[in-house]
Structure formats: C-alpha cells, structure tokens
C-alpha cells in the first residue's frame, strides 16, 4: 500500500524528483500560455508557413514532452526514481550561497545599468561582497580581497574604457 501511494505521487522516491515534477509543470504551463500568446502573432502571408507556425510547432512538442515526463514521474516506482536521482552529473541543488551570489550580482548589474555609481566603486563592492559569500572570513583573506578588488576594478576600468572603448558608468 505504501509503495503504491508513493508511486502515484510526484514526491515518490526522493525530494529531487519533486523538482523535476515542478519544472515539468512550469514548462507545461508556460508553453500553454505562450501558445495562447502566439495567436496574436501577425501573419502578412509572405510565406506558406508564416511566422507563427514554428513557435506553435515547438510549443506543441514542449507540451507533449512535459506532459509525458509528468506522466512518467507519476507512474514510476520509487526505486526507479531513486536510480535516476543517483546520476552524479546532476548533483546540483539550490543552495543559499548561490542565491546570495545571484542577489549581489543582480544589485551589481542594476547599479551599472542605472549608472548610479561608478564602475570602479560598484566592482570593488561587488568583489568584496561576493568574496565574503564565497568563503573569505579571516582578517587576512578579507584584506587580500580588498586589495585584489581595488587593483582589479582600476585595471578592468582602464582596459575596457581605453582599449576596448566600452562606455562604462
């Protein structure tokens, strides 16, 4: 009874199968929404297929694949799910440190896009913050990080502005 209840659940096997299920569900829902959006693509009849054909073709395939994968996850036995989860190439999980780095990176990109602070200052702050998240904890490593961030920011700013003529804030 336990096995059958596990088998007919997206959480059967281990937790990572749940991630698979929800990513499939996201793809399925997204593809359905985009399929609806594709009805607004204008067609001037320049060619036989038109600009909307290929997106719809791809979206239909995606809907089919996501639906099939959801069905397979739903009906797979727990042992089979565990076997699939043991693939060493996919030992990736969402980690707080990764999310923190993405947050700092977003702030860095926002600062550069708005031009609110100079490239050099933004880069020094970004390198120090990311370095601390990445494991610089002792006084010595933080001092090293500050020195490297200043040298890097000045060097990169000069090279990209003067050599590659990039318009940096």
């Amino acid at each position: 009874v336990l096995r059958s209840s596990n088998a007919h659940s997206p959480k059967g096997g281990r937790g990572r199968t749940s991630g698979r299920f929800w990513s499939d569900a996201f793809v399925l829902a997204g593809a359905l929404v985009l399929l609806w959006v594709s009805t607004s693509i204008q067609d001037f009849g320049l060619d036989v297929l038109g600009p909307a054909f290929m997106p719809r073709f791809v979206l239909c395939i995606l809907i089919g694949l996501a639906g099939l994968d959801i069905a397979i996850i739903w009906w797979s036995a727990p042992e089979q799910k565990a076997e699939e989860n043991d693939d060493p190439e996919f030992e990736v999980a969402i980690r707080p440190r990764s999310l923190a780095v993405l947050g700092v990176l977003t702030a860095y990109v926002a600062a550069l896009s708005t031009g609110s602070i100079s490239f050099e200052l933004a880069s020094v702050l970004f390198v120090i913050l990311t370095g601390i998240i990445a494991g610089a904890r002792t006084k010595r490593t933080i001092m090293l990080l500050i020195a490297v961030s200043v040298v890097y920011a000045l060097a990169a700013g000069w090279i990209f502005r003067s050599v590659f003529f990039v318009a940096l804030p």
């Binding site: 698979r20 060619d47 995606l62 397979i72 990176l105 990445a134």
Partner: protein, 498 residues
C-alpha cells in the same frame, strides 16, 4: 586534391607565424590553467574570452578559442589526480584511478600517463578530423534546405537519446533553446514574436549574453554553492619526474589507441561530450582488460583509457561542426558563435567559401595538442600550484568580467540583464536536472532550421512532399523515428512493468 593540400599547408604556415603560434599557445595555456581549477572549466573560459575575439582577426579568434577548448579538457586531469576533484566533468573517470595513484605516492606516474594519453587522444582524433571532415562536407554540400532542417531535428533527437539527463528532458531543453531564439523579429516576415510589447526584446536575445549567462554565470553560481576545500596530496612533482615516467606510460599504447578511436566516434555524435567519452572508454577498457580488478584502485591503464577518450572527443566534435554546421558540444557552439559573429557560416560551404578557417581549425587543433603536451609536461610544478587558487578571489572577478564582457559587445547595458536572466535559467535548469548543452545547441540551430524550412517551402510553393520523398530526407526521417521510438518504448515498458 592539390588545392586541398596547398590550403592545408598554407594553414600550417599561418599557424607557424608568431601570431598564429602565439594565440594557439596562449589559448592552450589559459585552457589548461582554467581547466585545472575545479569548477571553472574550458567552456566557461571560452564564453568569457568570446567578446575579446570580436576585435581580433577571425582566424586568430578561432585559434585562440580552440586552444582554450583543448587545454580545458586536458588541464582538468591535474586536480582530478591531485585532489580527486575533476577540474571539469571530462575528468570524472580520471579522478577515480588518478587520485588512487597519487595516494600511493605515484603522482608522477599518473601525470605521465595522463598527459601522454591526452596527447594521443588528441592526435588520433586530429588524423580522423583531417580524413573525414572534407569528404563529409562535400557530401553535405548536396543537401537541400529540407535535409538541413531534418539534420537539425536529428541532431536534437540524438542529443536527447544519447546525452545525459534522460531523453525527454534533453529534448525539452533543446526545444526550449529553439523557443528562446524565436523571441524578437522574425527574419522572414519582420514580425515580432513573444516581445510582449517591450523594445528590450525586439532584437531578440543576444547570442553572447545567452552563452555567457548559461555557461559562465551558471557555472560559477553552481560551484559557489558546493565549494570544496580539497588540498593537493603531492606538491613536489617536477618536469623530470614526469619525463622519466613517460617511458613506462608508452606501454599502454594499445589502450590509448583504442580509447582514442572510441572517443573520436563519441565526439562526432552530437551532444555527447568529453565526460561521456571518458566514461565509455573507461568502461570498455575495463571490460576487455586483463587487469580489470585493478581498475578503480590506481591502475595507470584505466587512467590512459579515460584521458585518451575525453581528449579524442574534442577532435570528433569538430567534424560535424565544420563539415555540416551542427555543433557536437557546448564548446563547439561557442566556436560557431565566434564564426557567425564574424559573418562566417560554419557548414558544408565553409570549406568552399572560407577554406582558411576550415583548414586553419584543423591545423590549430594539431598545434593545440602539441602545446598541451609541452605546456603540461614542462610546467607541471606551476600548474599544481594553480589549483590552490582560492575561489573567493576567482569567482567575483570571473562574474565581474562576464558583466563587462557582455556590455563591451554592443555597448548596451540591457544585455547584462539578459545574461543575468540566462544565468538564473541555467542554474534552475541544472538544479532541476534539465541538461544545458541541448539548450544552447537549440538556441544556435533553431533559427537556421526555421529559415531553411521556410525558404524551402517558398521554393516548392508550399509543397511538403520533398520533405519526405527525397532519398536523403527519407534516410534522415528513418533515423529520427528509430532514434526516438526505441528508447521511448523501452522507457514506457519499464514504467509499465513497475
């Protein structure tokens, strides 16, 4: 034939100039260093260097990137042997026996065998690249637009069937890549698609921003989440130690040759990278070896098989890229992108329109392998020190260069948001077991496939029959259906049984 030889010789001559040799050597050196650092890898370095190649002569850019590609696969053996953590997935099998050898105090043995095997793999696949790419390109020149569309579809299906992550999810990844490439203006009718009325999306996603986001940003973010603190076991291996042990490493020549041939074949199949090549070669050698019980306990023969296999895939993967225009791996997508940005189209006509690129790549691959052997042997002591570089210094600088690199291409800040978005998408895909390589391959090939299909239909006035009636199309459709049906039937039968 005489013309071919003349162009090939002139390519070798170009590679022998200070410029050609310099870019090749620098690329290989950077690739080895980056490949040696766990978590970085050649693909990430190639994505990062890509913007710099825009301002270079396109052949120099290709030579530079190819050097990084070859160096990245070869260099990953260093950390695999010393700390048991592969520098990139390509060295996953090297870390099994290489690390055991190192623990037994035989690091020099491991390095000598690994370096020699890497060189052998590279050279054998170079010979096959030279032998197959020209005939394959001349056959591919007769393909019609419908055939090319089917080729792209077949490539995506083969990636799905044989690649890692399962067929369905690999296919899903490939089609998501095609879908992402459809955002913006349609090249045939100039109608916008999926822009939601924003001007930011009207010109579509910049190829470079997508590649840097999906390869470099994603990779660094993933690695920061799983930081390891491995320390090298043996730091004192020198050039002399490696050279002395190379004599005994030569005794594994049969294994190296066999693994190189298998590795090249695996490389030719789309989507199967160096990691699959290493695993397959290791498994095959283990099955036929007389010392199979020593595999996994520090057997140099096992190391030779893994390293020859993974390096040979690089040359193999170049065959479909330069001959048909279908990239065999993620790194090949970056090489292709570097050509497309310079208005050079890889594919059957490359040998005709840009023979200097076609033969230049072949010549560069030869020299990159020679440099791999020389640099790794001569600077082994320095390279061992490199893997101790702290991630807290490397990661922020790499991410910052990603941002500035993307801005530098079009001088457009909006591209950094696209890069960031694809970094997040890549990270989410990796954590939900959707492989990334099919996505970028789909992103690059999708627009080409659509363009070919629509132009073919224009020429046949909407008649779809040639899609299923020409001999080439029929063969391709048969392969496509069989490749799809067999694994799907197996999978469904397995689910049904359970």
């Amino acid at each position: 034939m005489t013309d071919t030889l003349a162009v090939l010789l002139s390519s070798f001559q170009y590679l022998l100039t200070p410029t050609g040799l310099g870019w090749c050597m620098l690329g290989t050196f950077i690739g080895i260093v980056v490949g040696a650092i766990p978590g970085l890898g050649g693909g990430m370095a190639m994505a990062l260097i890509l913007p710099i190649t825009f301002s270079m002569y396109y052949l120099d850019g290709q030579i530079f990137l190819l050097g990084i590609y070859v160096g990245g696969v070869g260099g990953s053996l260093i950390s695999a042997i010393l700390i048991g953590v592969p520098g990139s997935p390509a060295a996953v099998m090297t870390s099994v026996d290489g690390y055991q050898l190192c623990k037994q105090g035989r690091a020099a043995d491991a390095f000598a065998t690994g370096i020699l095997a890497s060189f052998t793999g590279g050279m054998v696949s170079w010979v096959l690249l030279l032998a197959f790419s020209v005939p394959l390109a001349s056959i591919a020149r007769h393909f019609q637009s419908f055939d090319y569309f089917l080729f792209v579809m077949m490539g995506l299906v083969l990636i799905g069937v044989a690649g890692s992550g399962g067929m369905i999810r690999s296919l899903m990844s490939g089609f998501l890549g095609i879908l992402a490439a459809m955002v913006g203006f349609d090249s045939v009718s100039a109608v916008t698609r999926f822009t939601f009325g924003t001007s930011l999306l009207a010109s579509g996603f910049d190829l470079l921003a997508v590649l840097i986001g999906a390869f470099a940003v994603q990779r660094v973010v993933v690695e920061l989440g799983v930081l390891s603190s491995g320390k090298p076991l043996v730091g004192g291996t020198t050039f002399r130690d490696v050279l002395v042990k190379m004599r005994s490493a030569i005794s594994h020549w049969r294994t190296m040759l066999r693994a190189s041939l298998i590795g090249t074949w695996i490389g030719i199949l789309p989507g199967l990278g160096a990691n699959i090549g290493a695993i397959v070669c290791y498994s095959v050698e283990k099955t036929i070896s007389r010392k199979k019980e020593n595999y996994g306990r520090g057997e140099p023969e096992a190391l030779a098989a893994a390293e020859s296999g993974n390096n040979a895939t690089v040359g193999g993967a170049l065959v479909p890229m330069i001959a048909i225009g279908i990239p065999g791996s993620g790194q090949d997508v970056i090489l292709m992108a570097a050509l497309i940005i310079h208005n050079v189209q890889p594919g059957p006509l490359l040998v005709q329109n840009n023979p200097e690129v076609f033969y230049g790549l072949i010549a560069a691959y030869f020299f990159a392998n020679v440099f791999l052997l020389l640099i790794m042997t001569l600077s082994i002591r320095l390279l061992i020190k490199v893997i101790s570089a702290p991630m807290f210094l490397l990661a922020p600088i790499v991410l910052s260069i990603c941002v500035v690199g993307v801005i530098s291409v079009n001088n457009r800040m909006a591209d950094t948001w696209i890069m960031l978005a694809f970094g997040v998408i890549g990270y989410l895909m990796a954590s939900t077991r959707i492989p990334l390589a099919p996505f970028v391959i789909g992103f690059v090939l999708g627009p080409l496939a659509e363009e070919r299909l629509r132009s073919a239909l224009m020429s046949t006035r909407g008649d779809l029959m040639p899609l299923v009636t020409s001999p080439t199309s029929m063969i391709l459709i048969a392969i496509l259906l069989v490749s799809l049906a067999i694994p799907l039937a197996k999978r469904l039968r397995k689910v049904g049984r359970n």
